[in-house]
Amino acid sequence: MARKEYAFYPGCSSQKGASASNYLSSVESMCKTLDIKMTEIPDWNCCGASVSYAEAGELPRHVMNARNFALAEQNLPGQDIVATCAACWLGARESKERLEHSNVLMADTQEALKEAGLNIKVIPEVRHMVEVLIEDLGYDELKKPVKKPLDGMKFAGYVGCQTNRPFGIHGESFENPMYLDKLVESVGAEPTQFDQKVTCCGGALAFSEPDKAQAQIKDIIEAAYDSGAEMLVTPCPLCQANTEVYQGQINKKYGTKFNMPVLYYSQLMTLAYGGSAKEAGLDGNVIRARKLEEFAAK
C-alpha cells in the first residue's frame, strides 16, 4: 500500500513515443522513489486543450473532460485526478469549475455522457503533479530521498502560464511564483534570478504563428542566459517543447547561439534521488543536458 494514491491523467503528450515521453518516464521514477502510486485512468481521452476552442465549442470540450471524470470516479473511486501536463490540468479543472457552476451545462453534459454509457456523480478533485509534491508531501519530504544533490548547478525556473494562471499553485503569486525555485533548491541546485519565469512561450501559436511565438521564446532563453543559468527547468510539456525545439530556428533567424537544455523538475528530482540518465529521461532531451548526463554517470 503506497502512502499516496492518485488517478493519473498523463495526457496525450505524456505517452510513450509522444513529445513529452521523457516527462512521463521521469515522473514514473520520481513517484516510485516517493512511494506515490499513480494509476492511469482507464481509456482516458484528450482534454481538448485551449486551442481547440474554435472548432470544439463549449459543451463538447466539457464533455471530453467529463468523460475522464466519470471514468476516474468509476474505476478509481475516492482518488484525486492528477495531471502532469499544464494544459490537461487547466482544461480539466476549468470544466470541473464550469460544470459545478452551471446546472444547464451539467445537465447537458450528463445527457451527452449517456451516449457513452457514463455519468457523473461527484467530480473528483483535479490536481497538478506539482500540487501533489508541494501540498501533499511538502518540500521537506521531497528533500529526504536526495542521494546526489545537484550541487552548484544553476537552473532558471521557467513556470510559464498554465501551471500558474488562472489557478496556479496555492499561495503563489501569478507574477513571481517561487515553487519551482524551491523545488530546484530542494534537489541541491541553485535557482537563478530569472525575470521571464512567467512569460508566455507562445503556446499553440508556436505552430500557427511561429514568428510571434519564437520572438517570445527568444526573450525567455536570453533572460535565462542573462540570469547565469546553465539549464531551464519547467513543469509544462508545451513550455518544454517550445523553449527547447525552436532554439535552432531562433538561432538561424536572430543569429543567436542558443543551446540551452530544457528539463522537467521531475528529471532533476529523479537524478537527485540517484536515478539513472535513462530513468530521468535525459535521452529524451533534444538539446542534450551533457552536464547532467555526466552527473548521472558518476
Binding site: 513529445s19 486543450a49 474554435a54 459543451l59 451516449e115 503556446g203 510571434k212
Partner: protein, 211 residues
C-alpha cells in the same frame, strides 16, 4: 455557414451586444468591462506586433455594434491562452474565454478571416484529437505543414526537419504513428456519439440550426 449568419442578423437586428451575450461563450461578460485597458497591456502577443483591436477595444466595438469589424477581426485569434488578462481584470471578466468565445462564434458564422492559421490549427487539433480520442502528434504536425498545399508543406517540413529529426531521435516523435500506429481510445464509438450529442445540445441551447 453563412445562412447561420443571416439567421442571427435577422434575430438580433442591430443589437450586437445582445447577440454576443447569448451566442458567444462568456459573451455576457462584455458589458462589465470598464475600459481600464489592463487586458490589452497584459497580452504578450500585443507587445510582439500588436493586434488590430485589443480585448477592451473589441468589447467597446461590440457595445458600439460594429458587428462585421468585430467578427472578421484577426484579433481574438492572437490569443495564446496565457491568462494574464484573465487574472488581472479588475472586473473579473474571464477575458481569455471571451476571446475564445468570440473567435468560435465568428468562425461558426463564417465571418472569421479566411486561412487564419490559428483557426486552422484549432480545427485540425480538435479533429485530430477527437478522431481517436487522443492526439496523434505526427498526423497533427503533417496536416499543419500541408495546410497550404504540398509545395509549402515540403518547404515547412524542411524548415522543421532538424527539429523533427531531433524529436524522433529523442523518441518523442514516432513516425509509426503516421501509418495507423499511435495512441487511441478504446471506446471510440462512445466518444463520437457523445460528442455528436454535445454538439446537438449546444446548437439547441443557442437556438442555432444544427449544421
Amino acid at each position: 455557414m453563412s445562412d447561420m449568419n443571416q439567421q442571427m442578423t435577422a434575430r438580433y437586428k442591430n443589437n450586437f451586444l445582445k447577440e454576443i451575450e447569448e451566442q458567444a461563450e462568456m459573451g455576457d461578460w462584455v458589458k462589465m468591462c470598464m475600459q481600464c485597458g489592463v487586458c490589452s497591456g497584459s497580452c504578450p502577443t500585443n507587445f510582439h506586433g500588436g493586434w488590430d483591436h485589443p480585448p477592451q477595444e473589441l468589447f467597446m466595438m461590440i457595445r458600439a455594434g460594429k458587428r462585421d469589424e468585430v467578427l472578421s477581426s484577426n484579433s481574438m485569434w492572437q490569443c495564446v491562452s496565457c491568462y494574464n488578462c484573465y487574472v488581472r481584470c479588475p472586473r473579473k471578466v474571464p477575458i481569455t474565454h471571451v476571446m475564445h468565445g468570440l473567435a468560435e462564434y465568428a468562425y461558426r458564422l463564417g465571418k472569421a478571416p479566411k486561412g487564419q492559421p490559428t483557426q486552422h490549427l484549432s480545427k485540425t487539433f480538435w479533429d485530430n484529437a477527437t478522431k481517436y480520442g487522443r492526439v496523434n502528434e505526427v498526423k497533427l504536425t503533417q496536416s499543419l505543414y500541408f495546410k497550404d498545399g504540398i509545395g509549402s508543406g515540403i518547404k515547412k517540413a524542411l524548415e522543421m526537419q532538424s527539429m523533427a529529426l531531433g524529436l524522433v531521435k529523442a523518441k518523442r516523435l514516432n513516425p509509426m504513428e503516421a501509418v495507423g500506429g499511435g495512441h487511441k481510445c478504446k471506446d471510440l464509438k462512445g466518444i463520437h456519439a457523445m460528442l455528436a450529442k454535445a454538439r446537438e445540445l449546444e446548437a439547441k441551447r443557442k437556438g442555432r440550426q444544427p449544421a
